[in-house]
């Protein structure tokens, strides 16, 4: 397998914490994933209109780039990039008519038939690395840390590209357990964070996000882990606003799943870019003595 890494735009700026903590963890696991030399925005949202092919051009072009650069597998971290790339790939694999239209339109590129495999980081850990190997790499087990694994929408739906069962996923749980943390079940794990509604209907969106966090803490979670910069925006960065809006709101530390892996692997803390999180993320780790144990 020749593994190419597709970062996505947000991971280069606002979600640098997701990218760097993941790359640091991959280094610990001894896995080489080279960033594609040439890539463009994935399109961010997979169009729901069946005949809206122009919005499939961007992800397909990325997959063509991956193939041109000799990669047979593309690994992604951002849930939305994963979803968009994986769905575009499915379309190119299975829908001959649309594939022909797209290949004809992109006449400056080689034809593409969906041959590159698109995998999410969590899939990769389960299928290619294995949870045992993840466990072996843990230097600072996250003992006593109760984390609500939040999947959101785009990791699971539609089921053709979902990394796990759309309603009863367990992969995130296995991931947390491998790191020594306790995965806390909660009903909202597969609910939508409110996505882009936070722009059009910010008040309604805030309530949706607040309910998710409430659900997690009611079930006993100390923190919530997620895999998507947009979920992080709604569930993490908006917490200041939430605390103003809702009397019963409490601060809930938010982590990218890769943060927790990097902490458990003993990666130097600066690779986590916690400055992009609310302060509670670092505070909880200190409180649980998970940062102090990191070997120098």
């Amino acid at each position: 397998m020749k593994l190419g890494y597709y970062p996505g735009c947000t991971l280069k700026t606002k979600a640098k914490n997701l990218e760097d903590s993941a790359l640091a963890s991959l280094e610990v696991l001894g896995i080489e994933a080279t960033e594609l030399e040439r890539w463009n925005c994935c399109g961010a949202v997979y169009s729901l209109a069946d005949d809206d092919l122009i919005h499939i051009v961007a992800p397909v072009r990325d997959l063509i780039r991956a193939q041109q650069q000799g990669y047979d597998t593309v690994i992604t971290l951002c849930s939305m990039c994963y979803n968009t790339l994986a769905r575009a790939n499915e379309l190119m694999k299975n829908d001959e008519e649309k594939r022909n239209t797209l290949n004809d339109f992109m006449d400056e590129e080689p034809d593409y038939f969906g041959d590159v495999k698109v995998v999410h980081f969590l899939n990769f850990l389960e299928d290619e690395v294995g949870w045992d190997k993840v466990k072996e790499a843990v230097k600072v087990p996250l003992n006593g840390l109760k984390v609500a694994p939040y999947y959101g929408c785009t990791l699971l739906r539609p089921k053709e590209v979902g990394i796990d069962h759309p309603d009863n996923p367990v992969m995130f749980h296995k991931f947390l357990n491998a790191l020594g943390a306790e995965a806390v079940d909660f009903d909202s794990a597969t609910e939508c964070c409110s996505a882009y509604q936070s722009l059009a209907h910010p008040d309604i969106a805030l309530k949706v996000s607040y309910d998710i966090l409430q659900d997690a803490t009611n079930k006993g979670a100390d923190a919530l882990a997620l895999a998507c910069p947009l979920c992080d925006y709604n569930l993490g960065r908006k917490q200041g606003k939430m605390l103003e809006m809702f009397e019963s709101a409490n601060e809930v530390p938010i982590y990218y799943f890769t943060h927790l892996m990097a902490v458990a692997f003993g990666v130097p803390i600066d690779r986590n870019h916690f400055e992009l999180n609310r302060e509670s993320s670092v505070e909880l780790l200190k409180l649980k003595n998970l940062l102090s144990e990191v070997p120098a």
Binding site: C9, K12, N40, C41, I54, V57, A58, R61, M106, E108
Partner: protein, 271 residues
């Protein structure tokens, strides 16, 4: 189009006379046999010598560039031209001053394409990608259709530098867009209505001012000059008579045309 006389039919050939560089008094007029080919300028057919650039062919056909012909040297972007060829759906582009005519081409020059340039106080920028995103929010309308790159007469990968700006890599965007001559053809083809060439210009300015490390040795050098490092040399030169000065100039050591990186002059007395 197919009923037009085929290119190269001998009956169509004409002689295009060009005076030789020396002028009539010094040398006889040089006669060059040049084939005439049909081209279509804004839909009208003209027979032009096949060796001309599009710009010269237009002048040959009777168009006059009163102003706005640009630099005629392929660097100013004022003579961007769009053309098509028979039996081919593709859009072709080139600079009129650089592109040689082709038989049966349909062309029009597009000296300018409107694209709004954002107003900014450059000194108030700090070089953060978000500043560019805020000045040109239409960036995010790009769907990666690549029409901009395909139309670029300078072969700039326009879509790639727009992609780099979107992900905040202004340095890469600056480097990819470096050959842009601001002709505006990218903007003419963009389905997202982006003013690519203005965005490229902004990121190159930002790269030069904020992202590229300052040349620290420059300040040292300026301080040295101000402290009088070259005063003695200059005074000496200023005191020389014209003949001596001319001799020194003519006998000065020149850097060889193909000098290595480590080349240094024999005397560094005044360096």
């Amino acid at each position: 189009m197919s009923k037009r006389p085929s290119v190269g039919s001998t009956g169509e050939d004409q002689i295009f006379r060009r005076p030789s560089a020396g002028g009539a008094a010094e040398a006889p007029v040089e006669e060059i046999e040049v084939r005439m080919i049909p081209i279509y300028i804004m839909g009208k057919r003209y027979e032009v010598p096949e060796t001309l650039t599009i710009m010269k062919a237009m002048e040959y056909a009777g168009f006059q560039y009163i102003r706005g012909c640009g630099c005629r040297g392929g660097v100013c972007g004022a003579c961007a031209t769009v053309y098509r060829k028979p039996g081919d759906y593709k859009i072709y582009t080139g600079l009129a001053c650089q592109t040689v005519v082709e038989p049966e081409m349909y062309l029009t020059q597009l000296p300018f394409y409107p694209a709004n340039r954002a107003i900014y106080e450059f000194n108030e920028l700090t070089g953060k990608p978000e500043e560019v995103h805020a000045l040109y929010p239409e960036l995010f309308r790009c769907v990666a259709c690549n029409a901009c790159s395909k139309v670029c007469p300078m072969d700039v990968e326009v879509m790639d530098y727009i992609a780099a700006v979107k992900r905040g890599d202004l340095k890469a965007a600056s480097e990819i867009s470096f050959d842009c001559i601001q002709c505006g053809l990218c903007a003419s083809r963009c389905m997202g209505e982006l003013p690519q060439y203005h965005i490229g210009q902004l990121v190159r300015r930002i790269n030069g001012a904020y992202l590229t490390p300052r040349a620290e040795h420059l300040a040292t050098m300026v301080a040295n000059i101000e402290a009088g490092r070259y005063k003695e040399c200059l005074d000496k030169v200023k005191g020389l008579d014209a003949d001596t000065l001319r001799n020194i100039y003519q006998e000065r050591e020149l850097e060889p045309a193909v000098a290595g990186e480590d080349w240094t002059p024999k005397s560094n007395e005044c360096l």
